[in-house]
């Protein structure tokens, strides 16, 4: 495209050379596509600042300001923070005094349960993936396949025995129970993902380290792990996202004290009997999105670094 043409190049169109650099032209195209892709989320965020009547208005009210009269009033709403305060405290029955909804506790629970179980799964799963990759057992593929099988059944089938088991062990409604369950829930993906990263590494480097007298532990921690940081970050993000939003196990296995946000969100949708309160639901979802959004954003550099990964291949 526009080879040698300085105008095009100044606008940012550079000739593609594999996975290389691109300029502002590419950024504009990517920006448009990203914006369209993000639009449904943006509408949720905008809705969180609307009152119920404005959320249901026809034509839809898109914007919080009219840009000095540029936009017709029919498309403009008055932003309000009422939904955000009523996430944490609102009157449950019309006319009654506002009471605590318990969402502060649900947010705390979600953070504790998701982060502990994902980190635990990452630690155990990475060790196992390294084992499967470097020291294949007899029937290695069978083990891996059985591990995968545990993710194939609808959760509702596993849940009945788990409920009975937790009741017998006194684990239902406790942090330990749900954290261990989520750890197991995350393990199959962690193992398969990390194994595919370990498989890509060159064994030559490890053999060289062994020849130099490194112990097996040093080979794992100092040679292999630094090369799969991208994989660790990606697996952590995926695990966090899946656990953060998990609903069915949380609904059936958490008690009043350990309830997570998705369960509370479902109650907020179903409760009241006057249809969905769109603004309230949007406010809960927006608040709930922020932590996982920030974690993903700050891990992004690791996620896409790929500098060391795969540099010495076979």
């Amino acid at each position: 495209m526009a080879e040698g043409s300085s105008i095009w190049e100044r606008l940012g169109f550079r000739r593609a050379s594999g996975v290389g650099e691109a300029g502002w032209g590419h950024a504009v195209i990517a920006g448009l596509i990203s914006f369209v892709y993000f639009l449904p989320v943006l509408i949720i965020i905008i809705t969180s600042f609307k009152l119920q009547t404005e959320a249901l208005a026809v034509p839809p009210k898109f914007l919080p300001t009219s840009f000095f009269g540029l936009i017709p009033d029919a498309y403009v709403f008055t932003p309000t923070l009422e939904n955000y305060t009523s996430v944490f405290s609102r009157s449950m029955i019309t006319g009654a005094a506002a009471e605590n909804t318990g969402f502060d506790r649900y947010f705390f629970n979600s953070i504790v349960i998701a982060s502990v179980s994902v980190l635990l799964a990452l630690a155990i799963g990475t060790l196992a993936a390294y084992g499967f990759s470097r020291y294949p057992l007899k029937g290695n593929d069978t083990y891996l396949f059985v591990i995968l099988t545990t993710r194939m059944l609808p959760a509702i089938v596993v849940i009945i025995p788990v409920i009975l088991m937790f009741r017998a062990a006194g684990l239902s409604g406790s942090y330990v129970g749900i954290i261990l369950l989520y750890t197991a829930f995350n393990l199959p993906f962690t193992i398969w993902m990390m194994k595919s990263f370990f498989d890509e590494l060159s064994p030559d480097v490890e053999d060289a380290a062994r020849l130099d007298g490194s112990s097996e532990a040093a080979v794992f921690f100092k040679v292999c792990l630094p090369q799969v940081v991208a994989g660790l970050a990606a697996t952590f993000v995926f695990g966090l996202i899946l656990t953060w939003n998990e609903f069915l196990f949380a609904l059936l296995l958490t008690g009043v004290d350990t309830r997570t946000v998705p369960v509370g969100m479902n109650q907020a949708v179903a409760g009241g009997g006057i249809g969905v309160l769109w603004g309230l639901l949007a406010a809960i979802e927006t608040l709930f999105l922020i932590p996982v959004f920030l974690v993903t954003f700050f891990l992004q550099n690791h996620l896409l670094r790929g500098v060391t990964f795969g540099t010495v291949k076979r």
Binding site: A16, I43, A128, Y135, T150, L153
Partner: protein, 354 residues
């Protein structure tokens, strides 16, 4: 690999040694059986747990003494999975041979009765077949849509460009939403009276309000669109991780040799992303087979969108027919296992062939 390590002799079967896992396993099974038969549920649970821990410990000692690093590294993961997943799975497999309803106390062994009822009953067999075809349709459509969209998005973000970091996080956001919120808000977007889709179509055609969910095509399209929108970023991220891992010198060498773009993709890029692409395909297919929540939230299974997984939820949860639900999901598991094996076989053959 561990031939240098001095091999200790393996203890005789009955010798009480800390690394004699066979004896530990036999003793563990015996003690657990007695405990389950004689003691109340809570006590026998913890005794069985202690036995599992004992067997696991002897495994670990055995692996450590004989330098079976594979076993040593894998054992914690296997232990957690066994207690939390495999054991409940076996339990529900056993349950599928009984007549049991969670709201009743009675339990009766009926062998393959549940399976027979599901596969041959005049009412249930056609329903099962219809739900299976619906599920297959959803799997094919959503997985293809996600793989294509995810792949194209990954190509878009493979290059380094200004603001890439900030645009990428926008595309990743749908995946981070709670499925409850996605389902409820897509029903808001699709709503004939105040939904944005109906509004846009009205504005374009000037017609009456647009009801997307009124027929099967629309209902399926609506669900597939929401699901593909939510999970394409997953495919994108995996493909992207593969794309950025391709060493730059390979492209530089290819540029010197004046290799065509297509050939460059086929011989340099594709081998690096193949593994991750396969992983994405595998996990998205498995998840697609389990699709229920979006269907529940958007159509409640109406208009020919009932899936097997939702069917299981109805039977097991709403109608309390626990054992029948278990039997149905084992039929589903059978289908998924056959397909996954076929897929892994093909993937392995490809890997060896190339």
């Amino acid at each position: 690999m561990n031939s240098i390590a001095a091999q200790r002799p393996i203890p005789a079967l009955m010798a009480p040694a800390p690394d004699n896992w066979k004896l530990a396993a036999i003793a563990g099974v015996a003690v657990s059986a007695v405990a389950i038969a004689a003691l109340p549920a809570a006590a026998s649970f913890w005794i069985t747990g202690a036995m599992v821990a004992m067997v696991a410990a002897s495994f670990v000692v055995n692996a450590y003494r004989r330098h079976y690093f594979g076993g040593l590294l894998v054992s914690p993961a296997i232990a957690v999975l066994f207690v939390m997943n495999i054991f409940p799975l076996l339990w529900s497999l056993g349950l599928s041979f009984f007549a049991y309803q969670s709201n009743q106390q009675t339990i009766r062994f009926i062998g393959l009765g549940n399976y027979q009822k599901l596969l041959t009953d005049n009412l249930k067999a056609p329903e099962l077949w219809a739900n299976l075809t619906n599920t297959a349709m959803f799997v094919v459509l959503t997985v293809i849509a996600q793989m294509v969209t995810g792949f194209l998005l990954a190509l878009l973000f493979a290059k380094q460009f200004p603001l890439r970091k900030y645009l990428l996080i926008l595309v990743l956001t749908p995946m981070m939403l709670s499925v409850v919120a996605v389902g409820v808000f897509f029903s808001y977007y699709y709503d004939p009276t105040f939904g944005i889709l109906s509004y846009v179509i009205k504005a374009m055609t000037g017609g009456e309000q647009f009801i997307l969910m009124s027929n099967k095509t629309g209902a399926v399209a609506g669900i597939v669109f929401a699901d593909a929108w939510m999970w394409s970023p997953f495919v994108m991220l995996l493909v992207l991780a593969g794309l950025v891992s391709v060493p730059k010198y390979l492209y530089e060498a290819a540029a010197i040799d004046r290799v065509s773009a297509w050939r460059k993709f086929l011989t340099i890029t594709f081998p690096y992303i193949r593994g991750l692409l396969m992983l994405a395909l595998l996990f998205r297919t498995i998840e697609a087979f389990k699709m229920a929540d979006l269907v529940i939230l958007l159509t409640k299974g109406g208009n020919g969108t009932m899936t097997i997984s939702y069917h299981v939820i109805r039977i097991a949860n709403e109608q309390n027919k626990t054992s029948e639900g278990a039997a149905l999901s084992y039929l589903l598991l059978f289908v998924v296992i056959v397909l996954t094996n076929l897929y892994l076989y093909l993937a392995n053959r490809r890997a060896k062939g190339s």
